[in-house]
């Protein structure tokens, strides 16, 4: 150890030591933490909405009565007995809503997983292999992309006889028509990550191709995949609601779409039975909104510029608040601190 390289290294080391000493209480750092979005009010609202509705879908069916039980109190407005009133045939809307939420979430989740797996396979594997495989996969992706989704879904659902049109059939059909867009996004991202030096370095180290994909490339795509998954769930939920509403949904499960379908057939709107169609519509809207809010937070990880804009705005607000407070207490605003910060942001 007689070479001059010791001088800068020693300086580095001293710095490191001090830092290490300062943070001994810190939890071991991992790559995963970097992937978690920062907590913002919007993210909190999104998580609460999605968490609440998911809990309702999971636990609700255990607490309510039989949703298909027919009573002679048709179309009663919300009362103490029936929190959300009854349908035309006297079925409890609350019970129906709980089961329907569960059904919708089931389909949304299944489709989300299937579409993500399909898009990850075609997008990432194709882009990593390159050449013929990439050409073939992206041709296939592009063909699937231009297939008009909903009409195809309607045609397929129409062809499959009603008895065999179960939850999985609908989920499969929705997944097949919705993966292509994500696959293209993932392909573009993979093409960019694949050419980075660390991928080449791991290949030179002798890593097997599947390990390069799964261990070196995939973690860097996780935020994109997460965002695509959330998006796939939203579109599946809406697609399923649309299908069920026109009577082509799954026959063996009740979803929010089938609720709307029966409400429409039972003339809920002309009869003014708002308690019949508003709750399912609201659950769809709020769940979609919650997922979208979560998605915005994930976007910040993919595109740090968005985060900077938010932080800038926050800083500007803080400056403004400080300025007002100083004005109220009658003191002079310090010349450079608050106002100049605000100016640069604007």
């Amino acid at each position: 150890m007689t070479n001059p390289s010791n001088a800068p290294a020693a300086a580095d080391n001293a710095e490191l030591l001090a830092e290490a000493a300062a943070e001994t209480g810190r939890a071991p750092r991992s790559g995963w933490r970097m992937l978690l979005p920062t907590m913002t009010p919007w993210l909190a609202v999104g998580l609460i909405l999605v968490g609440g509705i998911t809990l309702f879908g999971l636990i609700g069916p255990l607490l309510v009565g039989d949703p298909t039980e027919i009573r002679d109190q048709g179309l009663t407005a919300p009362t103490g007995d029936f929190i959300l009133g009854t349908t035309q045939t006297g079925q409890d809307v609350m019970a129906q809503l709980a089961y329907a939420t569960r059904g919708s979430l089931q389909i949304g989740f299944i489709v989300g997983v299937l579409a993500t797996v399909l898009s990850a396979f075609f997008g990432i594997y194709g882009a990593y292999r390159g050449r013929v495989v990439d050409e073939a996969f992206s041709l296939f992706t592009n063909v699937c992309l231009v297939i008009p989704g909903l009409p195809l879904v309607i045609v397929i659902s129409g062809f499959v006889p009603r008895e065999s049109r179960g939850l999985w059939t609908i989920a499969l059909v929705l997944a097949i028509t919705s993966w292509a867009g994500s696959a293209r996004v993932l392909r573009a991202q993979t093409l960019s990550v694949r050419n980075r030096d660390y991928v080449a370095a791991s290949q030179v180290s002798g890593e097997r191709p599947w390990r390069v994909i799964v261990v070196e490339i995939l973690p860097n795509l996780l935020p994109v995949i997460a965002s695509q998954f959330v998006f796939a769930v939203i579109s599946a939920l809406l697609g399923e609601a649309g299908l069920s509403f026109i009577g082509l949904g799954a026959s063996n499960s009740s979803t929010l779409g089938t609720m709307l379908f029966y409400a429409q057939n039972g003339f809920a709107l002309p009869l003014g039975a708002w308690w019949w169609f508003v709750p399912p519509g609201l659950v769809i809207a709020l769940f979609g909104m919650g997922l979208a809010l979560i998605n915005f937070s994930i976007d910040e990880i993919i595109n740090p510029k968005l985060k900077n804009t938010r932080l800038h705005r926050k800083r500007a607000r803080r400056a403004l608040r400080l300025e007002r407070e100083l004005a109220r207490t009658g003191r002079k605003v310090p010349r450079q601190a608050a106002p100049s910060d605000e100016e640069t942001v604007r």
């Binding site: 001059p4 370095a201 002798g206 890593e207």
Partner: protein
């Protein structure tokens, strides 16, 4: 100890524009020899084929023709499965060559595991720390769990060197290992490479466009121009007594405190007149035809 012999290496790339196809010859009949304990510097401008040679040596590209022979001390060729254990590479950009997602420990532990250099979890950990200490990254326990963005450029390049040496590599290809670093850090990293080379008797191929560090760091210099070797010889001879016009141009490009005023190198040597079909060989002390001359030079060694 391992030596590498590159004979008559050619690499063509096919360029496609519309229906027209043209061929770009990136490396044109290059021959080189890397021997244990010696450093060969490959000098040339961007696009002269330096990095293509590195890619072929690390088996990221296949040569169009020509051979790369890697032999152990006793003359037996290295089997395909062990190639990557013997030949490793340090990349140019330390900010890009480490995966931001993984810890430093992961980067060094992987090659150890892939090449079966460790038996157990504790053994791996001990060896990772040992590698970090070898490249002057201490305290190793504090560095190992960090992720690349927490280290400086020089520290990252040390990690990259540790990763390259982890499998027990005897041949090291350093593709401009210091060009992305601060001037103040460069000497440290180069001296580290020099020390490791002496300790392990590594055969090093040092790729650079900087003649000054090439002279400081290497025993032999090979000058590449448009894929061909235009001058080769002991490093002092090539730098102090350049024969080929292109080498003169490179030498002029390096700032020289002795030379007053500014020299615009393009004016001093007419670039259009540079002829890359001939090669000056300092070992033989004569001009040769570049493609054929390279071959003769190797057989003469």
């Amino acid at each position: 100890m391992t030596s590498v012999k590159i004979t008559d290496l050619v690499k063509d790339y096919t360029l496609r524009s519309g229906l027209k196809r043209t061929r770009l010859r990136a490396v044109d009949h290059v021959s080189l020899e890397l021997t244990p304990g010696r450093t060969v510097a490959l000098v040339g401008e961007s696009g002269s084929g330096k990095s293509t040679i590195a890619k072929i040596l690390t088996r990221m590209e296949r040569p169009t023709s020509g051979t790369v022979e890697v032999r152990l001390d006793d003359g037996t060729p290295v089997p395909n499965g062990h190639y990557r254990r013997e030949v490793q590479m340090v990349f140019q950009d330390p900010f890009a060559s480490l995966n931001p997602f993984h810890s430093i420990e992961h980067h060094i532990a992987r090659p150890l595991k892939i090449h079966g250099r460790t038996q157990s979890q504790e053994d791996t950990r001990a060896r990772v720390l040992e590698m970090l200490e070898r490249v002057n990254l201490t305290p190793a326990e504090a560095i190992a769990p960090r992720r690349p963005h927490e280290l400086s450029g020089g520290q990252r390049q040390r990690v990259a060197i540790a990763r390259a040496l982890a499998p027990g590599a005897q041949v090291l290809i350093a593709d401009e290992p210091v060009s992305m670093l601060d001037v103040s850090i460069r000497l440290g990293v180069l001296n580290l490479l020099g020390r490791l080379q002496r300790e392990d008797q590594l055969a090093v191929l040092y790729i650079t466009h900087d003649l000054a560090t090439a002279r400081h760091f290497s025993d032999e210099i090979v000058v590449l121009y448009r894929g061909r070797v235009v001058e080769r010889g002991p490093s002092d001879a090539v730098i102090l007594d350049p024969h080929h016009d292109y080498t003169k141009l490179l030498a002029l490009a390096a700032p020289d405190p002795e030379r007053p005023g500014r020299v615009t190198s393009e004016a001093a040597v007419d670039r259009k007149a540079i002829d890359n079909s001939t090669c000056y060989d300092h070992f033989a002390g004569e001009w040769r035809e570049a493609a054929a001359g390279a071959k003769a030079a190797v057989s003469a060694d």
